[in-house]
């Protein structure tokens, strides 16, 4: 089995992030690397750039990493985290415009089949298409 795209789940709430990751693992299995984070640097609701960077590195795969986010700040902070990665990794991480739970499950399902990062992102984002 070759490597699969890694999945990162970024929510304002650690409970939502963890719950989403649990659903992905139960529905897709453990062959896809899934990392999650949630909460601001004080542990309240929000997101944290250092935690997102750690999650990306935890889920890292040579095929890249797809990030699923909940609300505005999670997206902005995820984009910032991607830019702060080491240059070799930066171009292999994408933030998906998709609902967090459904997007994570769809992205992980697609990733499990060995798809490329672009394919994984496209499948997750089909959920946002009209």
């Amino acid at each position: 089995m070759s490597e699969t795209v890694g999945i990162v789940i970024v929510s304002h709430s650690l409970d939502i992030a963890k719950g989403t990751a649990d659903m992905v693992r139960q529905m897709v299995g453990s062959e896809v690397r899934v990392a999650f984070c949630g909460g601001n640097p004080d542990g309240g609701l929000g997101t944290s750039v250092p935690s997102i960077i750690d999650a990306i590195n935890d889920a890292w795969s040579a095929k890249g990493v797809a990030i699923l986010v909940d609300l505005g700040g999670a997206e902005t902070n995820s984009e910032m985290a991607v830019e702060m990665l080491e240059p070799a990794r930066r171009d292999h991480v994408v933030v998906c415009n998709a609902p967090i739970v459904e997007g994570a499950v769809m992205a992980a399902t697609e990733a499990a089949g060995g798809s490329t990062l672009a394919q994984v992102k496209a499948v997750a984002e089909e959920l946002s298409a009209d």
């Binding site: 601001n40 004080d42 309240g44 609701l45 700040g73 997206e75 902070n77 984009e79 910032m80």
Partner: protein, 207 residues
Amino acid sequence: MSMQAETFKSLVKVAAEQVIASAPELTSLDQAIGDGDHGTNMKRGCEAVLGKLDSISAQPLDEALKMIGKTLVMTVGGASGPLYGSFFLAAGEALSHDKHLPEDLADVFGSAVNAVSARGRSHAGEKTMLDVLVPVLETLKTAAGQPDLIERVRATASEAVERTAPMLATKGRASFLGARSVGHVDPGARSSCVLVQAVCASLEGGQ
């Protein structure tokens, strides 16, 4: 420590303290049209900057601004972290590339404002911090070198923040509220105004 470093250090201190002091107001504005965390987020970021102020102000100005930006990015915890962080990172970057203060102030500020605009994929008129920063930039351009520059910048910022009240939010969390965002001052515009006013006050005090 050089005069310039002393001035910079006290300016950063005043600005951070002013934002921290305005945290309750920022939070209540954000509770009206956002998710209510702007005050606590900005407070956390500014406290982190104050905690590193000695090492920040020991750097050359360009590196000091980048350190402020990075500190905000890593500690704020909301969208305002990357937005304000990008502002200071870009300002520092501009100074690393042949721009000098005070003569290139409008250019440097312009690079910083562009970075906020790119990060938020937004522009003036969408009820955001850009509705203060862009008018301030215009004043920095038109009143450059004038003896009343600081006074004009202060007036611009105060007027600009009030003009966000009737605006309809189309970016960020406030956009979920649609027409219900109308009538409230934007919290990000307010925090930008607080920062601009604090910097101006610090510069006036140093004259």
